[in-house]
């Protein structure tokens, strides 16, 4: 399916404007989705992929309106099923860059099964999960990531559901690329999105996104200028894990649990801190990091895991190729079968 005329020539360098579909964006004013759209529009033109090769597939929910706002190929499908459609599309057309935009309800509730299987197969698709810890489009019910005891329209006396941890969950499904970013961190988000795009295999990116209408402030601890330094730290491959306004706090490994210490005051130096290794084959460290949740711990953002494993679509194509090589007879002979007879 490769198409000669579609290869990118220097004269056709793309800009964010090229990805503008011209549609009126219909999210609520102040919705966190706007920032994500703006950042993705900045990243897509820089990937060296012709615009017509992008396909954005979504399910149902506020986030799933995304494809309409990008001038790429796109499909706004049904609730929770985007990973299945993206899987079929990528397997049929490995030349395309296939993105899935989903939310905490779409991806982790109704579509949890599909998301898990797309991840464990390592289909080369890019999954962006906008986590706002609420159902927005259906007007404010608790979602699988809503904090326990949260009062919502469907839980007036507080939700009794234990929430799912999206990163731990994706690790359980053996995602080869896992990252987290936050809607109000433009540079960080662009960096993460670029890495996700460049990863060969499934990329799972959780994006904290604020729903101003039904769950405003859910991530204030991570976005507020005063609070963020103490509640968020950036993962950097090979580097020590530290944070705080003056980068004075560090993460230590205490048995099997993390421990936060003001290492400078305590007389440690950086080399004593836990260092990040995103390429670790075993997901132990990544899982350990995924368990660090506010308010008990600062929350890590950035790339938890990036390992290489053959993709499902490549393995499938290899098998297809082998099968084609092994063909010795034309189709007519297969249809004729092994046992046949002539009636005269």
């Amino acid at each position: 399916m490769t198409n000669e005329e579609n290869t990118l020539t220097p004269s056709s360098v793309l800009s964010p404007k090229d990805f503008d579909s011209g549609f009126d964006v219909r999210w609520c004013p102040g919705c966190g989705d706007y920032a994500i759209l703006a950042n993705l529009k900045r990243v897509l033109p820089t990937l060296g992929i012709p615009k017509e090769k992008f396909v954005v597939v979504s399910g149902i929910g506020c986030s799933s309106r995304f494809p309409y706002y990008l001038d790429t190929y796109g499909m706004h499908t049904i609730h929770g099923r985007a990973p299945t459609i993206a899987t079929g599309l990528k397997c049929s057309r490995p030349d395309l860059s296939v993105w899935v935009v989903t939310g905490d309800g779409d991806g982790l509730s109704i579509g949890g099964n599909h998301l898990m299987h797309a991840i464990r197969r390592n289909v080369d698709i890019k999954i962006l999960l906008f986590n706002n810890q609420i159902y927005g489009l259906t007007k404010g019910q608790y979602s699988p990531t809503t904090k326990q005891s949260k009062r919502t329209k469907s839980s007036p006396t507080g939700s009794i559901d234990y929430p799912v941890n999206p990163i731990s969950w994706a690790l359980g499904a053996e995602a080869t690329f896992i990252a987290r970013t936050i809607f109000q961190y433009p540079d960080h988000m662009q960096q993460v999105l670029r890495r996700a795009a460049e990863h060969r295999g499934v990329s799972f990116v959780e994006i904290y996104q604020n729903c101003v209408i039904f769950n405003d402030g859910a991530f204030r601890y991570a976005t507020d200028k005063e609070m963020r330094y103490d509640n968020i730290f950036e993962l950097e491959h090979g580097n020590p894990m530290k944070f705080g306004r003056d980068q004075e706090k560090g993460i230590f490994l205490h048995g099997l649990t993390p421990k936060v210490i003001n290492y400078k005051q305590a007389g440690f130096d950086e080399t004593d801190l836990l260092h990040h290794d995103e390429n670790a084959q075993e997901s132990t460290l990544a899982f350990f990091l995924s368990r660090m949740r506010y308010p008990e711990f600062p929350e890590p953002i950035g790339i938890f895991r990036a390992i290489q494993k053959p993709t499902y679509n490549d393995l499938l194509d290899n098998q297809m190729e082998e099968a084609k090589q092994a063909v010795t007879k034309p189709l007519q002979e297969i249809i004729n079968g092994e046992e046949n007879w002539t009636v005269t």
């Binding site: 399916m1 198409n3 005329e5 579609n6 579909s21 549609f23 012709p50 615009k51 017509e52 090769k53 396909v55 597939v57 149902i60 494809p67 309409y68 001038d71 790429t72 190929y73 796109g74 499909m75 706004h76 499908t77 049904i78 099923r81 990973p83 299945t84 459609i85 993206a86 899987t87 079929g88 599309l89 990528k90 397997c91 049929s92 057309r93 030349d95 395309l96 099964n113 599909h114 299987h117 499938l316 098998q319 297809m320 099968a323 084609k324 090589q325 092994a326 063909v327 189709l331 007519q332 297969i334 249809i335 004729n336 079968g337 046992e339 046949n340 007879w341 002539t342 009636v343 005269t344």
Partner: protein
């Protein structure tokens, strides 16, 4: 071999037995699911086919993979109808039943004709196996089978004597060859040659000479036993049938579907993407197709049926031929996504191998009870074409037509097969691919004249189909989805009148397919007393019943629907030309509901929901009743 020689020698001293020619015979081989009855049946079929008989077969195996040995639940049977005239069903009542154990006898004896031949393996009627089958006394000895011509044969013992001397045969292996002794015996009874089976044994076990020897020897031993033993007095022969000249093979509905899909890919010069989730009795389509990957069939085993249909919608968007195969419960899960394919107007094919429901129902047993589900079982007005093959061979033709229709009309298409068609094995005249017309596919590119104009994905052609633009096409970027579309631009639209127009357009598009359908044909007179209107796999029994009664001089015709939505344009005229219509179907009258609503005719619904296809005589009886009623009026 000694045993065989001995039997042969003895044979020379015996008088020749009498030989009788019969037109058609129905036999069933039944035993425990581990007894190899399916294999023996298939080999008997091959031999019959090589003799030039018309053949129709039906395997019937237990739903449980490993049902306890010797129990009623573990009985496996293989029915073969072979004839010197054309036949359309595996037959109703048995001329001969072979029962390898008491359970097989108990389950199958009801179908044996009075005075029919009953061959039982005497050795396996032990107190233990009799108890397992629920017999209080041994039926071989208590005279309860006096209505049949009973032959109690020491199959286990004779087989053991034949093969136990062969080197390297374990007790288990010895027991596994009993089926070939039985096969040899009935091969003699019906004058079938052994060489096709021997050839097969040699190639199948080419690296295991002792197994080849054992199976071959016991097959021959069974044959000679029939020849020499006194009590089987008559040998029957069924002469060659006159069939249309050409190259033939035998084929099951499942095989035909798989080959049809591979042919569709070939004719469209496209990759076919088959996404499916295992479900009885549709899984075999996936098994067949995996082996055809080399012919451009990409198979994908999804995590569930929802993902299966999702994957093919994605593949279809990408430009592959998207096909899935499932059965009732899976179809229910696919409903939502079928609606998505309707509104996005993407070409996919869903093969539904119907089984008895509701819910899990009886997974291995056929029914035609998903008709209304495929016609109406989706939210909103979501019409789609429905096709129903009438024979195993027709599964080949209609799977190609389903793909052709899906692409031409940019629509999901449902093909309604059933558990009976899937497993039914019939001779099939092999088509020549060169005579098949190609499947045209057109993927637009951006035209120079369109300049900077926005691409409008819902502009329709003369068939009301929208353009099939592939992602990757420069300048034609667009979005589709499940929300209602503006009728030209494809943008999301909540405009009330636009919605109504879109609903009507989608309806007209599907209705317009009628112009491509062949006119409905009638077997028999074009007007008269009774018309039997059948659909899908009910064809065989309906056709045979109507033919039989026509031979008696009754005014009966029959017609079988292969296209159910849209219905052929001349159906109304046909229905109007008969005094009464009989509509047999394996459900509670689902097509009947449609026909009564569409046409002002008096149709009599005839239903059967036993997980079994109609018997010819059941339909005959109903036709006679209708005719009697007409004469009475």
């Amino acid at each position: 071999m000694e045993e065989v020689q001995k039997l042969k020698k003895e044979d020379k001293n015996r008088p020749r037995k009498s030989k009788q020619t019969v037109e058609r015979v129905v036999i069933r081989l039944a035993g425990d699911s581990g007894d190899g009855m399916q294999l023996a049946g298939l080999k008997f079929t091959s031999a019959s086919v090589m003799l030039g008989n018309d053949v129709s077969t039906f395997p019937d195996y237990p739903a449980e993979i490993r049902a306890p040995q010797g129990t009623l639940a573990g009985v496996s049977g293989f029915q073969i109808h072979f004839s010197s005239t054309e036949i359309y069903t595996p037959g109703d009542r048995l001329d001969t039943l072979v029962a390898m154990n008491p359970a097989a006898l108990k389950v199958n004896i009801v179908d044996l004709k009075p005075n029919g031949i009953l061959i039982c393996d005497k050795d396996s009627f032990t107190p233990r196996t009799l108890a397992k089958a629920g017999y209080a006394s041994n039926p071989l000895e208590d005279n309860s089978l006096h209505n049949y011509r009973l032959f109690s044969v020491n199959i286990t013992k004779l087989n053991k004597e034949t093969v136990s001397k062969i080197k390297g045969m374990t007790g288990k292996q010895i027991n596994l060859t009993r089926n070939f002794f039985a096969l040899g015996l009935i091969s003699w009874l019906y004058d079938r040659p052994l060489h096709t089976t021997i050839k097969w044994i040699k190639s199948k076990f080419k690296n295991r000479p002792n197994i080849v020897e054992a199976n071959t020897n016991t097959l021959k031993a069974g044959y000679y036993f029939g020849e020499t033993n006194e009590f089987l007095a008559i040998q029957y022969s069924v002469p060659k049938a006159t069939m249309e000249p050409g190259l033939y093979r035998y084929i099951s509905g499942t095989q035909a579907l798989a080959l049809g899909l591979a042919t569709a890919a070939h004719l469209a010069k496209k990759e076919l993407f088959f996404g499916a989730y295992p479900i009885t009795p549709a899984s075999d389509i996936l098994h067949e197709l995996v082996r055809l990957r080399g012919y451009g069939i990409k198979t994908f085993q999804a995590e569930d049926e929802i993902a299966a249909i999702g994957s093919i919608i994605g593949a279809a968007f990408g430009g592959s031929i998207g096909v899935t195969g499932t059965s009732g419960p899976g179809l229910a899960l696919m409903s939502e996504a079928l609606g998505l394919a309707v509104i996005t107007e993407l070409p996919i094919v869903l093969i539904n191998v119907q089984r008895a429901g509701p819910s899990t129902g009886m997974p291995t047993k056929p029914e035609q009870s998903d008709l209304l589900q495929v016609l109406f079982g989706r939210n909103g007005e979501s019409p789609l074409p429905v096709l129903a093959p009438q024979s195993p061979g027709d599964c080949f033709d209609l799977s190609i037509e389903a793909v052709r229709m899906a692409i031409k009309y940019m629509t999901p298409v449902v093909l309604l097969s059933d558990a009976y068609l899937a497993n039914n094995i019939d001779p099939w005249k092999i088509p020549n691919l060169d005579n098949k017309s190609p499947i045209e596919v057109f993927h637009p590119k951006k035209s120079v004249e369109s300049g900077n104009d926005r691409f409008t994905p819902y502009t329709r052609n003369e068939h009301l189909s929208r353009p099939y633009v592939l992602p990757g096409t420069k300048g034609l970027e667009h979005r589709i989805g499940g929300l209602e579309k503006e009728k030209i631009t494809g943008d999301v639209s909540y405009d009330p009148l636009n919605h109504e127009e879109m609903v009507n357009l989608r309806e007209q598009k599907i209705a317009g397919i009628v112009k491509d359908l062949p006119l409905q044909e009638i077997n028999g007179p074009t007007e008269g007393d009774v018309l039997v209107l059948s659909w899908g796999s009910t064809h065989g029994a309906a056709h045979t019943a109507s033919e039989n009664l026509r031979k008696e001089g009754l005014s009966v015709a029959n017609t079988n629907l292969r296209f159910i939505n849209p219905l052929p344009s001349n159906l109304g005229d046909i229905l109007g030309s008969f005094t009464r219509i009989l509509l047999p179907e394996m459900n509670k009258g689902q097509l009947h509901l449609i026909i009564q609503a569409r046409y002002s005719v008096r149709a009599k619904s005839m239903t059967k929901v036993q997980g079994k296809p109609f018997h010819v005589d059941e339909i005959e009886k109903e036709i006679r009743k209708l005719i009697a009623g007409i004469n009475h009026d």
